[in-house]
């Protein structure tokens, strides 16, 4: 297969919501690459802000960051992570102190780190595909 002849279509990794990603990007894998790249940058930057808000005990501020970050996962086919964020956002609404959400935030940290790894892997695959075929 030569460059400019993209008869081999990119397949998103099965651990992602592939049906939704196909519907979202159709066959525009350049856009998918841009969105994955931009999502990663924003997630890294916003998540360090989330950590800072948690350590400061600023639950309202943390809730706002979680709300902002949440849809990012939708764009990269991680709807389950988005649901976890939604649940955690609701926990923040009901929390009276940082201790109330400590274990929940621990879970969110773990989920987010895994999500970042998956996004990095997928971005690498997209870049390879786009360089090779588009």
């Amino acid at each position: 297969m030569s460059k400019g002849d993209p008869q081999i279509l990119f397949s998103f990794s099965p651990e992602l919501d592939t049906d939704f990603l196909r519907e979202l990007y159709v066959d525009d894998f350049r856009q998918a690459e841009l969105v994955f790249e931009s999502s990663l940058q924003q997630l890294r930057s916003e998540f360090s802000l989330a950590r800072a808000r948690f350590h400061d005990g600023d639950i309202t501020g943390l809730k706002k960051v979680i709300h902002k970050v949440k849809p990012i996962f939708g764009y990269v086919g991680m709807n389950k992570v988005q649901e976890e964020y939604k649940d955690f956002e609701e926990s923040c609404v009901n929390a009276r102190s940082a201790a109330d959400i400590e274990s929940g935030f621990g879970l969110i940290i773990g989920i987010t780190e895994q999500a970042i790894q998956k996004m990095e892997t997928e971005l690498k695959r997209l870049k390879q595909y786009n360089t090779q075929f588009l």
């Binding site: 519907e23 979202l24 924003q42 902002k68 949440k70 849809p71 939708g74 764009y75």
Partner: protein, 229 residues
């Protein structure tokens, strides 16, 4: 025809995605992107757009706060990651409600609604009268006869030189239905026929001896609309 629009969205990836869809459709021109409602409002006070893509929860003022302070009524497509705002969306008479992330197909459906609503509004723009339901009958009121419209909770009062008519409606609903060439909202409880304004003093305007407050949010819009020599 291309619709002039702005995007009010604090998540850059969502805004980039939306811009791409707008470009792809060939129907939407994105004039600006704002990360918060305050900056968007400042822009909207000086510029006219036909469509706003509006996130609800943002740092500072919310999307609904922005809608409360708008001095005219462009069409609005809410873009949010929560479905809980559907009721508010209905109350604000928005054209559509997109849950992020949305597909291109779903985006196009929303744009079709914009197009349809725009046709309806343009079709009505030549109207120089309206019918209101009052005292169990439909009464025709000429725009020329209406001095102002005042909110009374779930009712509104149409004030004409000869008579006052009370009807079941809201200012929010009427905002999108009255002819913008003649009427403007000056306060959350008042829409006035600005051709009838006799004088303005600070934050109050007078129409045939009736004193009507001008809210801070609407003041600049009022001053732009009147012809100051």
């Amino acid at each position: 025809m291309k619709y002039h629009s702005i995007i009010v969205e604090d998540l850059p990836v969502a805004a980039e995605f939306l811009k791409k869809f707008c470009e792809k459709s060939g129907m939407i021109e994105v004039d600006q992107h704002f990360l918060n409602a305050e900056d968007a409002l400042r822009f909207l006070n000086d510029n006219v757009v036909e469509l706003i893509f509006l996130d609800v929860e943002m740092p500072g003022a919310s999307g609904f706060d922005l809608l409360d302070q708008l001095i005219y009524n462009p069409q609005v497509i809410l873009t949010t990651s929560k479905t809980e705002y559907a009721y508010d969306a209905f109350q604000y008479n928005v054209t559509d409600y997109l849950k992020k992330p949305f597909t291109y197909q779903r985006f196009l459906e929303a744009i079709q609604k914009v197009s349809k609503k725009s046709e309806q509004l343009n079709g009505n723009s030549d109207q120089n009268h309206m019918f209101i339901k009052s005292d169990g009958k439909l009464i025709r009121l000429s725009n020329e006869d209406i001095l102002y419209i005042e909110s009374m909770g779930d009712y509104v009062k149409f004030v004409t030189p000869a008579k006052k008519y009370i009807t079941h409606n809201t200012i929010k609903n009427l905002e999108t239905k009255v002819n913008p060439q003649v009427f403007m909202k000056v306060h959350r409880s008042y829409i006035v026929n600005y051709t009838k304004i006799d004088d303005i003093q600070e934050n109050v305007l007078f129409i045939k001896g009736n004193m009507i407050p001008i809210s801070k949010a609407h003041k600049s819009g009022v001053m732009q609309k009147i012809n100051i020599l």
